[in-house]
Symmetry: D3
Subunit: 340 residues, 6 copies
């Protein structure tokens, strides 16, 4: 059992039932999630001790976000309370050629306006094994950038392994801003996760021969990119998921890990139908962290891609699946036969 | 058929189903409403031509707010589009001694950051008969105060009768701020609506012998207050609803109108159970406007109180009831016998 | 265990969830019911053998109506299949001073256009103990009047006791039409059920001193009316429920039976809140039939009023309650204490 | 922005949730729609000024139908009120090899019994650019045939372009009846839409080599049919969608337009899964009208087929999609990647 | 119309809505079902007279199970009442590579603790044509084994044809126990249904070359197994469905029947998407029984596989489909085109 | 912040939506609760550190029970895993004169078959301030009696204050059995909670002049009973809630505490409507424990009765309310005015 810490924003997710569009909705399904919170929940479900650091409002909506994390065993003692609001995002789930759509309403959230003094990082990182953050948090603004940096420093002080999911978000900052900030964090990072777009926009790297819109993927381009990144930043490893977007409900899914100078490519899954695509990347990151903590590299990338393939079949941001279920799928049973 | 214009904020209302608390909610019922929008819908339902002025975001949530108004025949051509977000409020509905609870998440809404140049008031007020606004709009900030003032000037230029529901909101501004701004608007106002708290906090008036917490009401205190207000501001009339809060589900309900130097007291209703209390005051204002436009003063206050009593039995902010239904209740049939 | 036969129309009921109004509805709750079908279900629930005679379309909506009856043990072998449509009614449930509202869409239903030859009455009435019909069926038109008459003749031929719930429906026929038809049926009737309005509109009787709108009831007026009716038609008995309509959610409820030259007045209940008022009268008729078949007159009227009081607390037209539950309430336990 | 007028019936649609069958349903989802109303909503969503002409009952169910149209900006001032009922259809949604099933309950609807004098066509068609009707409306009976003819004459008088979606419905009339009536309308028609069955049953045409049950389509047969139709009736154009029915949840989808003596074939889409097939044809007609009004012929047929492909992914009859969304899909992005 | 009797357990099924996992569920969908009850409902839907024998508790949950059967016309007069509880199973529905999951909570159910004296088999089997049971019932324990044997003896006494669906359930008993008991029943059985696993675990047979996990099926292996079984037990026939498990939502589906010394292989269907997989085997057994009673062997196996293919598209355990629908699919229309 | 430990059974609660009866239910609302778990959740909500001891199955339904407790901050580290099943109870909520109904299906639950060795009481009670149990746990059987006794001994060893809610359940054991066991526990108990029936059935005491069915309460009888109990068992205090059952939806509510030789009577509340009566007694116990830990006796009983009055307005077993909300109600604001 490892102690894993994540830091970031948790939001209220308001999604339309079924495939309804927002203009049709008479009710919204209520979920709470966010990249780093999703990672914490996954790891808690696998049996690790997961801690989430954030700040949420005092009121009941903030409390509900904390409750959702506690429900799955995540430690929330390090979540500060206060500030103005919980970030919100609206989601409508697509089908076939109609893409899912996300509308963000996350400005001025408590975490985006928090201060370093809201947190006691040394208490949390003491005894921790792993720290995970994403490029979304620093994109929230100067305050969040300072908090991220303080967390990174504390993590390093306590000898904690650090992973970063680059996760470039064009609606939150520009590539120029991102490159300045993210490059300053890389010295603290051991493992980086990112697809071609993230690597380009956050760090200036780009795989050749890949077109995100067509779903055409060049493994060779990725390999070259990972080697360059590891050389430049001295990472212990780099990884990404490889998504082939056939439609909103049908994706190909596999992944690539580069570590110890070797490439490890995962099994490949056809996910059809996709039940909920949101949180798919986070479940991959969580699976990878679990794998790197407890398994060998080939198993790690297979665990990560199996875990995240399963996530695509589960409603909500959070990845409600057990260690055994991921292991079973990794072990080869993708037949979907009833378990009874 | 009269043309009535209202100006204000329309919000997304997220309420828990039944009597669930926010920490229990897995889904939120979706409604759209706001004081002035609610008034416009009521009047459209009674057959008047209702216009609503506001600003909402370009995205689908903003569109859904407009659609809800159009659904009930309100003219939305004067609603500007743009800005950052639609204001939100969370609602849990109480029962018995547990009060309903509202959490506002309305800062930085499109209307609160709109500018006078977003609107073409003269086009809207041309041919209009009535303009209604509330104290909530100027409480949104300097921009909204300027917009309200511009609307008042345009209304007066076109000879439009003006009503104001004082509606003091302590979470939005202080009594000191309110008194400066609201007093500056009073010269444009013909009819004022407000309970004892509103009158005190917005204008500095207070009825004697009333205790809002106990539900004890002093009609004499109100009468004195109304006479003083009319004298000071030269209003054509002043009115308020008189709510006796027995519990979250049981209220007494009546109203008082002072106009032409005379007092008109309405019938009294016991509302038990209350289905949805929110929008009750707005339905009273709408009923009063309808009454003052089409009926005599005694009928007007009876119409207003019957209309708003009915509203308490209808879910959502909006008052879905027909002219005939209000007239039937005014006419004395409160037996609730099945109509078939 | 007695064999009881009822004849009439079963409709698809489309009701808005909770207290929503029809213009707010995004879904309708689906129920199937109708006066005589409701009586059959009640009696089947009490343990009698209940048969329902009607005609419904071949299609799945017709089948669903039959299935609902079979679900509660009612014999549907005598329900003819064919014709154009199943009658529909829309229901919105009121609250406090807002009445429930029914919109009928029942014209051209299969039963209204059925023919006597669709039915084999002698097969059904053989061995039967009781036949119940209401004034709604003949109000459906000439075809239904002929069917009703044929059923009455067959019932009498087999020595079956006959009860009639007058149930005048102003939207279906005039009082003039009703009086011609209903008077022609009375020679076949043993027990008549009707409130003051029914008696007046269907048969020309009226209790003195009663005002249906105020809920003011004159027991003496009723007694006089019953005596006159029994004298004129030679009924074995006459009964009615006495509803005091305080509001849509709060009624007083009791009943009166006149038989063997004596009056039997039931206990009185305050029903607050009413969950579903529709089918209340039918559950009274069913309770009375059960009582007259199996109990003495005082018990019969007490059973009928207890059964129908309980019905007001159950959603849908159908009265889902056991013999024991009615007996318990009759026996005096109206405290509503949890049964566990 | 063009002014487009449509005429026809709007119905209450009662559909079972998910893939439930009618005999399982405890609630029905409520939608309002009909071929011509669906076209009006689509065009309003794309930014045109859409008017719908019909007649609906005075009661709340009729009002709800109007409200649904107003919600999406359709002008309903020309909808007459009165008559007996709103037509209804029941829908259960199929899956895999189980087809969706529709049960009509639309006889005696207000529009089917309306009269020409209920409408003021000249007011509506003044300034209009386009009039669209379908073969369903005249199939409702003599009254509706006279109304359609009156509308066509008024449209022509005002120089309005006319399109007709043949839409043969075997449950409403015979091919013989249809051919008499529809042929009498063709002189008023500029653009005709119809698949092979419609063309045969309404006008007597038939493409060779097509089998509607196997989904086998002969483009050459269609081309020949279109040329013959245009020659005979002097149409400006003829079009149809080409559906390949692999299963209830998976269709191939493309379309063909013949105009100005040239054939324009659209892109082809695999729609899998289909969320709601109903209204697919109407969204094609609406897309085509939009295309013919604002784009060149190749763009027009591509727009029409993209718009209607998207419709298959949206619940309900109405096509809730924006101009931009159709343009994006036309532009080639069918990857279904999340928009955020 | 044949009289068919089935014997077994009916359970309360609690399933999560949509694809939710059990830890996410705030509500469970309520269904009632069980292998033999499902067969009875199917046959009643096809028009046969179906009887179900079981024992359920006196309380309302037991009553609800009976009501569900009555709703679809199944005779429940032979269901004994009493005992401690109704068996329960929890179901979450999978998707793509995530399998559906069943949790049984069925120990100590009324039927598992019933006694032979609870039933009057001779009354039920008098005039019966067919008796169907499964290997699940004897797996419930000694009492249920004795009841099954008593039923078999009574069935034989009345010359009733007997079918057995082997249905081995590893959670209920061991293969050793099963073989002792099931072998003792085989002399009473005319038709046996079972896949390779059932045949092996219950009777000791095994087809060669089949791997249940990969979905690889060897027809030749099955044929050999069936010939051996028929030779050993002198069955009139043996059959099984052949499921290819591509994923939880996509299966291939066909079947094989061996009777009169000949093999009959059915059509093959691709079922995609699967809506509800539970009850698929029971609908196959019911279809086969119907076919063997009313059709020739090739039609029988085609009917069985078409019926059960359709079942996979219907929510719940029960197979709500008409004889005509199965016949239409058998006849070749798997296009899923809307029926209207 | 105090550390409070409770021990008992947590069950899956399956309740019908709204006021539906079980035979009508197509879905059950899912909640988890049980007397002692409910107390733990209440105290955690008030800010104390609450621990719950029990045993639940390994499977997902057991996990969901744990998750529900964790969600509200209760420590579940001492909950053992294993055994056969989670106890279940079915609930239908009454209205007016129809009582709520509970059907237990709790036999053979994991906790009822647990052993003392499943628990490490000394670890949990170390540092604890309070231990609470109820008479329900020993009623589960010999195993549970031994566990309760072991817990009591451990609690006493660590100097923990002990409270017992007698809670006699006639369906689980007889009064004779109860008196033997419960009397053997009393030496370990500091505070006892129980109404007249509990005291009689568990300990042999009875207040005079009280009739639980009529709701007639004799305060004097209770006082005498409490004095006798305290004298006999040397309790620090005894308390009970005083419920007046006017109907299933309307109760009077107050309470009495006897401690330090003095009587403390609480305020009295009329609860109308009751939203959910289940868990009302547990919320009283929790409120009393909180009060005795942190307040003076009069405040303690006022806090307890206010807390539990509020509980009656909240759906589910668990009491989702904050310390501030109880304090506000205690402070006198029962007006139910909207909080915004």
């Amino acid at each position: 059992m490892a102690k894993v810490v994540t830091l970031g924003e948790i939001m209220l997710r308001l999604s339309t039932p079924g495939q309804e569009r927002i203009v049709q909705a008479d009710e919204f399904d209520v979920n709470y999630g966010g990249g780093e919170a999703n990672v914490a929940v996954s790891l808690s479900n696998y049996g690790d001790e997961a801690w989430f650091i954030s700040k949420v409002p005092e009121h009941e909506v903030g409390q509900a976000a904390i409750n959702e994390l506690r429900k799955f065993g995540v430690h929330t003692e390090a979540v500060a309370r206060g500030g103005k609001r919980l970030g919100i995002y609206f989601l409508e789930t697509g089908a076939s050629m109609r893409p899912s759509k996300v509308i963000y309403d996350r400005a001025n959230s408590s975490i985006s306006e928090a201060r370093v003094s809201d947190f006691h990082f040394d208490r949390v990182f003491k005894g921790a094994d792993w720290f995970h953050f994403t490029g979304i948090t620093p994109a929230l603004g100067k305050n969040a950038q300072a908090i991220t940096l303080a967390a990174l420093k504390s993590a390093k002080k306590h000898g904690v392994t650090v992973s970063c999911d680059l996760n470039f978000r064009a609606k939150l900052w520009t590539s120029e801003e991102a490159q300045v900030v993210m490059n300053s964090y890389m010295p603290y990072v051991d493992y980086v996760i990112g697809n071609e777009e993230d690597a380009e926009k956050c760090l200036g790297f780009k795989p050749e021969g890949t077109d995100v819109n067509t779903g055409k993927l060049s493994i060779d381009g990725y390999k070259k990119m990972f080697q360059d990144m590891v050389k430049k930043y001295n990472f212990k490893g780099a990884a990404c998921s490889l998504r082939e977007s056939h439609s909103a409900t049908h994706n190909g899914w596999s992944a690539l890990l580069y570590t110890d100078g070797k490439f490890f490519q995962s099994k490949h899954y056809e996910i059809n139908p996709i039940i909920d695509r949101v949180g798919g990347g986070d479940s991959f990151a969580a699976g990878l962290i679990y794998g790197l903590l407890h398994l060998d590299p080939q198993q790690a990338i297979d665990f990560a891609v199996a875990a995240s393939a399963l996530k695509h079949t589960i409603p909500g941001d959070l990845n409600h699946e057990s260690l055994k279920e991921v292991m079973d799928l990794m072990g080869g049973d993708a037949s979907g036969r009833v378990k009874r």
